[in-house]
Symmetry: C2
Subunit: 550 residues, 2 copies
Amino acid sequence: MQPIKIVIIGGVAGGATAAARARRLSENAQIIVLERGPYVSFANCGLPFFIGGEIVERDKLLLQTPESLRARHNLDVRIQSEVVRIDRARKCVVVHDLSSDKTYEESYDKLILSTGASPIKPPISGINLPNVFTLRTIPDTDAIKKAVDPGAKRAVVVGGGFIGLEMAENLRKRNLSVELVEMLDQVMPPLDREMASAVHHALRQGGVGLHLSDAVTAFEQNGKKIAVTLKSGARLPADLVILSIGVRPESKLAGDAGLELGIRGGVRVNKHMQTSDVDIYAVGDATNVVDFVTQAETLFPLAGPANRQGRIAADHALGRSSTYRGTQGTSIVRVFDLVVAQTGAGEKTLRQQAIPYRKVYIHPAHHVGYYPGSAAMHLKLLFSPDNGTVLGAQITGREGVDKRIDVLAVAIQARMTTYDLEEMELAYAPPFGAAKDPVNMAGFVACNTLRGDVVNVHADDLGTGCLLDVRTKAEFERGTIPGAKNIPVDELRNRREELPTDGRVVVFCQAGLRGYVAARMLAQLGLEAVNLSGGYLTYRAFHPESSRND
Amino acid sequence: MQPIKIVIIGGVAGGATAAARARRLSENAQIIVLERGPYVSFANCGLPFFIGGEIVERDKLLLQTPESLRARHNLDVRIQSEVVRIDRARKCVVVHDLSSDKTYEESYDKLILSTGASPIKPPISGINLPNVFTLRTIPDTDAIKKAVDPGAKRAVVVGGGFIGLEMAENLRKRNLSVELVEMLDQVMPPLDREMASAVHHALRQGGVGLHLSDAVTAFEQNGKKIAVTLKSGARLPADLVILSIGVRPESKLAGDAGLELGIRGGVRVNKHMQTSDVDIYAVGDATNVVDFVTQAETLFPLAGPANRQGRIAADHALGRSSTYRGTQGTSIVRVFDLVVAQTGAGEKTLRQQAIPYRKVYIHPAHHVGYYPGSAAMHLKLLFSPDNGTVLGAQITGREGVDKRIDVLAVAIQARMTTYDLEEMELAYAPPFGAAKDPVNMAGFVACNTLRGDVVNVHADDLGTGCLLDVRTKAEFERGTIPGAKNIPVDELRNRREELPTDGRVVVFCQAGLRGYVAARMLAQLGLEAVNLSGGYLTYRAFHPESSRND
């Protein structure tokens, strides 16, 4: 029997994983990897850190070479080899060898597309000027570094997604002044607006000029500099510009071959990563996926899922029945000393998909307050109002944000509920957490609302009623919600006659816990008391203009 | 209607939690907390760090006072109040007020026992000498600190459990020389022996003298010093001795009252934390629990479960149906710069309970190797041979150990399988992990054995066959398993004729991955190849005497 022949288009992330996996499954398969660029299997997530200098050796970005992949896995890896057409009828691809400028055909039994996504470049005047960069490949990286190294002074970053934020930070580390322009009123669009407040703060603290709700109208060459004109009228001079407006799936090859495309131009695949042609698979950023929480078709250009999909495609191409369960959108980014992470659906997505949800905010410390270095994180949990199923979580903070988002990511994968969060038995010693971990706390707070032990309100809609600040007098005096009356929780039992006997009392404290205790107390004393979820800290995230005095 | 009267014996951890929870549920309940000692709700897990100086202010250990608990929660907290007897027939307790030396009765509707556990003091000659300490309370802490502060030079720690290890480290931080004596051949008995190797190494690196498989036969006062005599004949001089041999449940009160006791003297409770008397609950270290994995009755003196149980007891006493799901034994300890964590059942427990299991070892990095600061961790995963259900995990390492053990703890809680670990979508950016997280890797490696893609052997039983080291020549020359032949994996396809054509080949590399690749290759070439799980690193953990040259 002729050994199976697998051709893989794209030698990074999903493509490289698929190739190695295929070899492990079949020693005699013929496996060809066709990579358009000059490098395979490079560290695409590391590129900003190399520009910023945290990663010093360029070689570290090059995880594999065609030679190392041949030696280890007996792979036929061809770089500078662009596939220009897929001939499905004849089961072959047309390859343009960029180094020799020759074109040839390569047949396949199974074809795996790992073509990735390309940075969006909108039709703005001057967008193709030499020092307007996108960042996706090693050559992009080299070009940006070459522009920075001779002593560039000013950079403009357009777009506040992952790459934009990481580049803003890394260019600041190189001592450039950095202006970040974002069309929306927040950076990191998948994050809910109020959770992005902390990111805006971190960027400003890091010395990044933030231009929200603004957009570039033109780039102009001005001597050695680029003048960046914004819709607001501002003109920003720059030695270089980084465009990070987003990416779009590289699905032209698939579309031209008549393969079915899905939402926003991604290649549509089934749970085995098969396209509408059973002999062609697609994986990674080029591919549509099912959102694990909402079950909607979507795009999630993320490294973990790309690798997982590559493995599944190779499995299935070689006769195994592996399936992909969908993508949760778990992601994390460090922005100066802030860590921002999320998993599952955000409030925006849930609204869009008309999925009912409840939310709570908490501000727990990474570890017990009596052990040095304890710092607060800010956690938003979204869950089903019916049964408490965890739908999504977003966290900003420092130490331990990654841990809690991972725990919550697993909870979502297992379709666990807020009641399960209450019961989680997580590792505790003073340097690592608390006997009641932040995740437990999130469970308690969420379940308190589900069980009807407390009625929460949110800072975007306090409703009517008497605003009651139950923090200490000193906290109250440092700033409060306009119109609030102050009775510290510890005095509330003795001062209850100061409250109106009818009408609603909106209780709040700093982070939500004392407010909960007070609201429980007042409710049992016969008052209609509601608690502001997340307290004054969350109020300020919703109303950043109110926090000038901190 | 008369408000319900709840009496709680013990004002730390579970007792304090039960009291606060009871108040939140019922504003008019009468709640009395009877605490034998002079402090309530103190930070018992922080005591070693205060002695070591990491926690500087003693006040930080005192989380609450009777006054603060009265103000916040309207609790009647009585310190120095020892309950000497429970009169179940008359539903009252007899209280000895230690400050006034008076005795009185206090009736209850519901009684919650949170009496804790007391350090074991075996009948060794001299064990009651003044400078032989146990550590459980604030007064214990004060006494130890008083012995250390004037410039103590030498300490002997007896017992290598959590407190013993934390005290060894913290006394070293105070510049004492420290000798640790442990009866078993390893510290941290719940950990499997080979995983304890890293802890032994960390202790020795930290300057702790380690006396394993040895025991104290006598303490003798020798001027101002104590002479500690060991079974081995060694005599260790010490300014102070810390006994941390373990704890036993303080269940005498319960036993005297005729309440049913369970294994190793713990108070037996049902899933609502009710003892054999429906009006009496027991929580925390005094209580037997069901092991969540093995379903056996056991003892797990841990802070998280104690707090959780306190909440459940209060819930149930006030008419809610809350239940406790059992304890997994998730725990963590920092030993100098090593972090050691575990969750679920260890190999010892599984053997004891005759539960079938498989195991794998991996040594993944916390985060991608190209980002600075990447360090390896050592992970052992135990799972069901039938369906891959995760049974337990043990990890040693530095950064990120706590995160992975928490992720695996949730996996156990959700009864997830190794197939689920493969699919986990955890947060990845270069500083935080890898596109294939260590937990994913553990899943891959475990599933490879379940799917029959590779046959693993373990370092405690290599079996017969040709030992093949597939690492590089340089690695081989730095040390290998006696009798091994070296063919680097990348040369194996071309040098296969150097291998015997029949008989078994036991392949190994450094950490297990290259060995897996090689074993797959050889198996497909028709050889009987098995892979050593965890490679040479795990071999050395099993055979620490073999690692002298590193």
